[in-house]
């Protein structure tokens, strides 16, 4: 909130003052030192003042001038001058300050004696990229051979760290403040503690306050007063920060064989650790459950179209996986057509994928499957052939390489519940999407005229036709519906994995397992089976590894089918023996 104001004034005052000397004359020393002093005590308010003062007074060029001088001292001066230079940089208020100080902390700051310029180095992969310390502009043609590393001592580091943290602690954005507090957690110096306590007084955001309390308690773990230490331990008992756990473990180890008051400290630390362990295991359970559910819903989504074609019609559609693939490619295609509207493209992709896959499904039904009704094994082979043709068609038309579908911004990232648990948005989206698709399908089958006719044909084709239902038309519609739902599954999968010609094959065996396990012809069975298998898979994974977990699940299903050949929820009644 301070930023926009500051920026506006900066623009207005852009041409007021130019020369570095002027700026130093006006801005140096007293007023800003006061601002800094307040910063320690009122971290939240101070930066605002600070920014206002600094930005109102100096132009961009002017500030660069001050930094220029400070950097020069940093590069050439004695250690004492250097330390002063660090302080000066911290006070300059330039937007480059955090970058300069971080580079200093990482020993990534260089001086070019010839030009007198200072560069910041950042490693990107194996390459080192340089940027000008004053402007922040990348300097690609700087010669590393002509650079001298600026030597930094520990006092400067401490200063730099504190200044950096102070700047960040005063940020307008609560997340940034939280991050600053977290970055300070490893540092238990008295100075930091003071800084944190001051920040705590001003902080209004609840999450940041919680983080601050943990950080303060962490620092107080080293307090000379045992009561205070125990109080700090109690404070940390419920905390999920990795730093807290490490500190408590270290403390417990340190105080293990102690006497007197240390015994109480040790006991408190051990209790706190046990408490954290308990919390963590509950959260781990929640996380596994979430992963299981999201995998389960992916399975359900992939299998539910099959549940219609296989379950309701009795048609084995081995090309089902390729219809999923077509849906995924449609998502990709829509994004290619609308490169500027990635956010919205998914909402266009959903109906288009349904239509594309559904139409291909109807063509398959009309051209191949309808000649093979009542011959399930032949249907299986013919649709398998179709799946090969579709795969190769995609390979020839697009490329054998994987395509990556961009995830809209609102779906990327994760919902951080706390430090031990965060849930990715795309998986949350898929869970809700699957529920919506499932609900829509059930509503369609139970509540509409088309659904009624589909069920009627599935139960007794001749009788349905005698009542005036157009059997052939319903067959095509049912197959198209199942295929369209496969297309929808493709949209969802495109958000999780790369889109390639083999996408479908990877899911076909799983999908059949889900349908058969749940009981053919039963949408609810498919739901239960998919979720059950997904969760079982994820719970097995920590013990058995991903591959072995999958094998165990497959073997379980093979054995299960032999016990109950008709699945979890078998069809009852006359139609049961139909296939």
């Amino acid at each position: 909130m301070g930023r926009p104001i500051g920026r506006g004034e900066e623009d207005e005052s852009g041409d007021v003052l130019k020369g570095p000397r002027d700026r130093r004359a006006q801005a140096g020393g007293a007023p800003r030192r006061r601002a800094e002093g307040q910063g320690v005590r009122r971290s939240r308010f101070a930066p605002l003042l600070f920014v206002l003062l600094a930005l109102a007074a100096f132009a961009e060029g002017a500030r660069a001038g001050e930094i220029d001088e400070a950097l020069d001292r940093l590069a050439r001066g004695s250690f004492r001058e250097k330390a002063a230079a660090v302080e000066q940089i911290g006070e300059s208020g330039s937007p480059m300050v955090p970058r300069i100080l971080s580079a200093l902390l990482d020993s990534g700051i260089y001086f070019a004696p010839e030009s007198g310029r200072v560069y910041l180095a950042a490693e990107e992969g194996r390459e080192v990229r340089y940027a000008d310390a004053i402007t922040g502009e990348p300097a690609p043609d700087v010669d590393p051979a002509g650079l001298e590393k600026i030597i930094v001592n520990n006092r400067m580091r401490t200063d730099a760290r504190a200044t950096l943290a102070r700047i960040r602690l005063g940020a307008a954005d609560a997340d940034e403040r939280g991050a600053a507090v977290r970055s300070l957690m490893g540092d238990r110096s008295a100075r930091t503690l003071e800084l944190l306590r001051a920040a705590y007084v001003d902080e209004r955001d609840r999450d940041v306050r919680d983080t601050l309390r943990v950080a303060i308690a962490l620092s107080e773990l080293d307090d000379a007063d045992p009561d205070r230490r125990i109080a700090a331990i109690r404070e940390l008992a419920g905390s999920l920060h990795g730093e807290a756990y490490n500190a408590l473990t270290a403390l417990a180890a340190r105080s293990e064989n102690g006497e007197g008051e240390l015994v109480a400290v040790h006991a408190a630390a051990r209790d706190a650790i046990a408490e954290i362990d308990r919390k963590r295991s509950v959260l781990a359970l929640v996380e596994t459950l979430f992963f299981g559910l999201s995998l389960g819903f992916v399975l359900v989504l992939a299998a539910i179209g099959l549940a219609i074609t296989f379950g309701v019609m009795g048609v084995i559609n081995m090309a089902h996986g390729e219809l999923i693939m077509l849906g995924a490619y449609t998502t990709w295609g829509v994004q290619q057509l609308l490169p500027d509207a990635i956010e919205a493209s998914i909402f266009i992709a959903i109906p288009s994928a349904f239509l594309v896959a559904g139409l291909v499904g109807i063509v398959i039904e009309r051209c191949v499957v309808r000649f093979l009704y009542g011959r399930p094994l032949e249907t299986l082979l013919a649709t398998f052939g179709l799946s090969l043709v579709l795969q190769q068609a995609v390979r020839t038309l697009f490329s054998p390489l994987n395509r990556s579908v961009e995830t809209p911004a609102w779906m990327s990232g994760q919902w951080v519940v706390n430090d031990a648990l965060s849930l990715t948005y795309n998986r949350i989206f898929i869970i809700f999407f699957s529920i919506a698709v499932f609900g829509a399908l059930v509503a369609l089958l139970q509540g509409t005229r088309l659904g009624l006719q589909i069920r009627a044909v599935a139960q007794n084709r001749d009788m349905a036709r005698a009542m005036g239902v157009r059997g052939a038309w319903i067959d095509a519609a049912t197959f198209g519906l199942g295929s369209g739902v496969a297309g929808l599954a493709g949209v969802a999968l495109s958000q999780l994995t790369n889109v390639g010609p083999n996408l479908g094959q990877a899911h076909i065996v799983d999908s059949f397992m889900v349908v058969v396990f749940g009981g053919v012809g039963n949408l609810w069975g498919t739901l239960v089976a998919g979720l059950g298998l997904g969760i079982a898979n994820k719970f097995l994974e920590p013990y058995a590894g991903a591959v072995l977990a999958k094998i165990v699940v497959l073997v379980f299903i093979i054995l299960f089918i032999q016990r109950r050949p008709r699945g979890l929820f078998p069809h009852k009644g006359r139609a049961a023996g139909a296939f």
Partner: protein, 364 residues
């Protein structure tokens, strides 16, 4: 339909059987002569590559016969016969690995290369005995047979039928695929077993060994062909066909349907295992890819194209489609999957009895 099939069988089966047996015998005589006796520059010379390729086709043919035995005669559509084939292949591969001895890259006299690479210090128990050829050959038969026995016993007793059985056989081979990909399984993981040196002391790279392997393949194919004909024509075989056509009726007549199914399934698995064992020394590698569900389904299409319910149909189909695959993937790799897919679709739609059925219809 049934009438057509039976009349066709009485009138054409024997001559066609004779033709297949005759051409196999001809191969048995001609190939060694053309490869070894005819000098290399001659137009009639058959190079070793082609001999090995033919040998590979005939292994496929044997696998197709195995699938035909259960699908064509008993109506069990197995989409997992590649698993039995690969298990037989692995048993042979393990023997060949042990034959390498200390000639591996790491020169370890006790352990195959991949185990040295994984830092294992002892041979896992399931590798014991594979230095012995008779033991390995016994395993070629026993391992696939035992798996089929256990799997079939559960499946047929529970009356898992039709597409359900197809799907769980597919799951079986898929599970094995995943398992064999794991390095911890001790079968070479992703790379499988390869770099074989010799079989029974004969160098696997030499022409003579290759031709001998080819001749063994032809001989075993012939033997299994004759054995299958005998089985199919026997009382047992007729009950099996009856089960295919009307399972419930056969059961009500007092036959223990599950026993018949189980034995034909086990016999077929053993045959597939032998085919795999013959395949591995000729191609020089066995890896988990052989377990891929796609491979098993391809076998089914060989049988469907050739004509199911006739042993020679399976052989003809396997050789024809494999030859087409070699030809297409060599010349137009892009087109091959279209062709294979087209074969599946057109084959099932228009050639319910395969190429052999076409011959029969025209003759009538």
């Amino acid at each position: 339909m049934k009438g057509l099939l039976s009349s066709f069988r009485t009138r054409f089966a024997r001559p066609l059987d004779a033709a297949v047996v005759g051409s196999l015998l001809a191969l048995l005589v001609a190939v060694p002569i053309l490869n070894l006796a005819v000098p290399e520059g001659s137009a009639l010379h058959l190079d070793t590559f082609t001999v090995t390729l033919l040998g590979k086709y005939l292994c496929y043919a044997m696998l197709a016969v195995a699938v035909d035995l259960v699908w064509g005669y008993c109506g069990i559509l197995s989409l997992g016969h590649g698993a039995f084939f690969a298990l037989g292949g692995y048993a042979m591969g393990m023997y060949l690995m042990r034959q390498i001895g200390d000639r591996g890259v790491y020169g370890n006299p006790l352990l195959p290369d991949f185990m040295v690479f994984l830092d294992w210090d002892a041979l896992p128990w399931y590798w014991w005995g594979f230095s012995s050829f008779p033991f390995a050959m016994a395993m070629v038969v026993v391992v696939p047979g035992l798996l089929a026995l256990v799997f079939g016993w559960f499946a047929f007793r529970a009356r898992v039928n039709g597409v359900y059985l197809s799907i769980i056989t597919q799951a079986l081979t898929y599970a094995l695929l995943l398992a064999f990909f794991r390095n911890e399984m001790g079968f070479g993981g992703n790379n499988g077993l390869t770099d074989f040196k010799e079989l029974l002391g004969f160098d696997l790279q030499s022409d003579t060994t290759r031709v001998a392997l080819f001749c063994t393949t032809v001989a075993i194919l012939l033997a299994s062909y004759v054995a299958c004909l005998a089985v199919v024509a026997s009382r047992f075989g007729r009950v099996v066909v009856a089960i295919r056509d009307a399972e419930d009726r056969a059961r009500f007549l007092g036959y223990r349907v599950e026993h018949f199914k189980l034995w034909i399934f086990v016999a077929s698995a053993v045959l597939a295992g032998i085919a795999g064992a013959l395949y591995v020394p000729q191609v020089g590698i066995i890896n988990p890819g052989e377990f891929a569900p796609l491979g098993s389904i391809e076998v089914v299409i060989w049988v469907a194209i050739g004509g199911r319910g006739t042993i020679f149909g399976a052989i003809v189909g396997a050789v024809l489609v494999s030859f087409a695959k070699t030809w297409f993937t060599g010349l137009f790799p892009e087109v091959w999957l279209f062709v294979l897919g087209g074969l599946f679709v057109l084959g099932t739609l228009f050639l319910p009895n395969g190429v052999v059925g076409l011959l029969g219809r025209r003759a009538r």
